[in-house]
Symmetry: C2
Subunit: 346 residues, 2 copies
Amino acid sequence: MAKGLSEREKLILSAVIATYINGAEPVGSRTISKLKSVNVSPATIRNVMSDLEEMGYLSQPHVSAGRVPTPQGLRFYVESILEVRELDERAKASIRAGFQGRQELEVREVLKTTGRLLSAASQQAAVVSSPNPEQEVFRRMEFVLLRPGLILVVLVAKSGGVQNRIIEAEAELGQEDLDKFTRYLNELLADLTLNEVRERLEREMAREKVRFDRVLGRALRLGQQALPWGESGDVFVEGRTNLLGAPEFSDMARLKAIFEAFEERSTLLRLLERSLSAPGVQILMGVEAEVAGLAGLTAVTASYGGDDQPAGALGVIGPARMDYSKIIPIVDYTARLVSQILGARD
Amino acid sequence: MAKGLSEREKLILSAVIATYINGAEPVGSRTISKLKSVNVSPATIRNVMSDLEEMGYLSQPHVSAGRVPTPQGLRFYVESILEVRELDERAKASIRAGFQGRQELEVREVLKTTGRLLSAASQQAAVVSSPNPEQEVFRRMEFVLLRPGLILVVLVAKSGGVQNRIIEAEAELGQEDLDKFTRYLNELLADLTLNEVRERLEREMAREKVRFDRVLGRALRLGQQALPWGESGDVFVEGRTNLLGAPEFSDMARLKAIFEAFEERSTLLRLLERSLSAPGVQILMGVEAEVAGLAGLTAVTASYGGDDQPAGALGVIGPARMDYSKIIPIVDYTARLVSQILGARD
DNA sequence: CTCTGGCACTCATTGTTTGCAAGTGCTGAC
DNA sequence: GTCAGCACTTGCAAACAATGAGTGCCAGAG
């Protein structure tokens, strides 16, 4: 990317962006010249700004307004100029504190808490996806008879994640049968990933068919019914109200579109999945290409879980105009923390 | 309540309210006089309106604007004039259809679906509270060892409701011990309500102390830890975006207050709890007294579960200006439907 | 006694004009 | 290359008039 910016140009681009970030208004040359880090006259700044505009990093809403960074300008700023400092200890402590006493919670609760902390720390909306069920390691499966023909299955992963579902079955099965099934399946499937569980069930069913063992066959069939087949994971969204303050969302129609986009779990999920492939913090600017309603917003995301095999992802969504130098380390730190908390369970 | 309204006054009050409901704007005498159900001149209507204003049922935003119903006017209308017709079969069918194939879902899923259907049918925000855990009937309890000292407890109610939590325990407990506990407790607690479970556990603990049986004592202690102590139920909120369309929420600050109020589960819960005591549909107008952020909104709620012993409540929250003749039967029908679906499991 | 047409009056709203402030681009001097 | 100065553009706010919706009241008809 065009490293061809002079130090002065970088300085002024940063200044414009920084000022824009906490003002949400076009910034003019005079404003910049008054900053103490800048020691040139407004006229000079105008010249530089004009150059930057030609390069596509700034733009003017109208002729006699100040400049506003373009998405491209922001991207360049984030990638080439911004230096991400470590999160200061106080902020870290405050995030950690939010998890205090929560280590013993169920995975879903941990992720919800994560969302809350993330949105509180960033003052933006936060999204957290639940771990990919395919990678979970089987811990235990339990059948509970609710009434004849209706069975509650509880599937526990090693991470502490729990999935419940209710399935139908032959009416004559009693709780004792189910207990037998439970013991059999738990033995058979111990310590496999869900993918392996699936395979193992298939294999065993083929085998049982040969041996013609009715009881075990039934158990295996129930086991199969209980698995989450191609079910996509959950997404937790927290802190949407943080977006309501921002002046760029004073337009009702737009706001509505944004909130509706947040209801669409599947698109959010796809958005988060993008950051599973790469390590570290990812920044998606102007999410417009992907998600209709989120046009003009920016997502800062990171994956959690193992670096090699990430389980899920989390992130922050807000106006393109957000304080990246603060938010990037927040997302980064939170992702590490979540990895650590969930990781401690394996 | 002042039944002292003449037929004509009632007619005009209804007309004003009906017009206001789908216009959101002050309505004037001429507008009313043009309705075909009204056969008097604007001047007469003005006189009547003036009387109604004196009685506190209408008010004028400013001298030369039309009239707007006051909360008192709306209340009178709903209580004394409005006749709630049965929901038409098509609307019923459409709600029922939403539950199709969902009967087998876990309680939480049923309630979430309920919220979605309710908000879709009413075009307002919907709230649904989960059944009061105290009244649930114990079905089964299961301990799963996640790692030494950390135990996942799965508590299944007869209704199919599941509660998971993770508790700490002595590190030396193995899964076999836990299985023993499970069998013992499930036997001991079968078919009790959670309240009774609590008592039973206390009693048994006192007894075991005398008998000094370490193992069973431990089991009982674990059982106690697993119970939801004074945990308030969940509230599901759906369809908040429906509120974004309404013109009365174009004010940003107000909107923010409203959305923040929706985040406050406990206040919503308190709101819903009010309708547990009375049967049928309840209407809370201008929820302001109770919940700060929801000022000027109206809640239409009903309880579900048994009539004598309601389990939870659900409702719709929207601007005071909502189509009560449509919404009341929707809430009513949905509540019955949910009662039926969840009831079928006992 | 009730209803209604007519009329004067009140105000929010809308459109227009005008002045102001912010900001730019350009030019010419250092 | 830097910068002061100046002419020019444009959004925005204030001021003002015109518009129109709606009311209250009065006097006359039924």
